[in-house]
């Protein structure tokens, strides 16, 4: 058992996977225990959780901006061709 707790405390890969899952789902009881025990000892994974939440917010901002400032733009040639196609089929 002591060995197992040590593994939980050390396993950042598992803890961050659980943290990502927790953003969407209720964790099972053993999962909750594993994550909370890990976080008592691991500042890096606490940072990960904050950063993951920031990424979620950033993605909302990114998605909102896609409209006004699309990161990619059609070339003029492509636009001309597309408009012709639309007008022909409309």
């Amino acid at each position: 058992m002591a060995g197992k707790v040590k593994d939980i405390i050390r396993n950042c890969k598992q803890a961050t996977l659980l943290a990502v899952k927790r953003e969407e789902r209720l964790l099972t009881f053993p999962e909750r225990i594993r994550l909370s025990v890990h976080l008592v000892f691991c500042d890096a994974c606490k940072q990960f959780i904050q950063q993951s939440a920031l990424i979620n917010k950033a993605m909302k901002g990114f998605t909102g901006r896609l409209d006004n400032t699309p990161p990619y733009r059609l070339s003029e040639a492509a636009k001309e061709k597309l408009q012709q196609q639309i007008d022909r089929h409309n």
Binding site: K21, A44, L54, R65, K79
Partner: protein, 194 residues
């Protein structure tokens, strides 16, 4: 013709928007242009079926998304996500975590998430930050990026993502986890601790 729909305006109103979604998922200008064209032409054909239950734009995005999913289905690059995850597990783990035999995967010294500072949120108001964010999406392996975009750009329901990509929910979590690990590392290097 349905009075709510006006195809002659589509290119001006939605062209670059649809093209950007296509580019993020396909990373290929010619292919993205073709798929946008295909989307407009299919939409013109289906215009009578458009009931105005969603906006014209949402409707076009749905058609575009289906075209892109079909494209990946044909190329079968969505298949065997499970195998892909297994095959690449070692290299992913080794890049971020200690992973010697018998090792428990713990952050490496140089990959442990650093403190981004109390004002990290301010980045969200900077246009340049979103360019970095987009670069970080572009750098993700295709299979991860497709699922990440479906979830966080298109805001598709998880159950629907699993169905579209034919992945189990546990593989979905593995993909989102990897994408987040890569994304936070990329943002840290290129923005927060730059």
């Amino acid at each position: 013709m349905n009075h709510q729909v006006n195809p002659s305006n589509w290119l001006r109103l939605y062209g670059d928007y649809l093209f950007s979604i296509a580019m993020m998922k396909l990373n290929d200008r010619q292919l993205a242009e073709d798929i946008v064209q295909d989307t407009f032409l299919s939409a013109i054909k289906a215009v009578d079926g458009f009931k105005g239950e969603s906006s014209e734009k949402t409707w076009l995005v749905t058609i575009l998304k289906n075209k892109i999913t079909d494209h990946y289905r044909k190329r079968s690059s969505l298949k065997e996500a499970g195998n892909y995850l297994l095959e690449t597990d070692h290299s992913f783990t080794a890049s971020f975590f200690e992973s010697g035999p018998g090792d428990i995967p713990h952050w490496l010294d140089n990959t442990a998430p650093a403190d981004w500072g109390a004002s990290a949120d301010k980045a969200l108001n900077r246009e340049e930050f979103y360019a970095i964010l987009q670069l970080c999406i572009k750098k993700m392996p295709e299979k991860l990026a497709l699922v990440f975009i479906a979830k966080f750009v298109e805001e598709t329901e998880t159950s629907l993502i699993c169905k579209d990509f034919e992945i189990s929910s546990s593989n979905y979590w593995v993909i989102i986890h990897r994408a987040k690990v890569l994304m936070r590392s990329c943002l840290e290097k290129n923005w927060f601790l730059e």
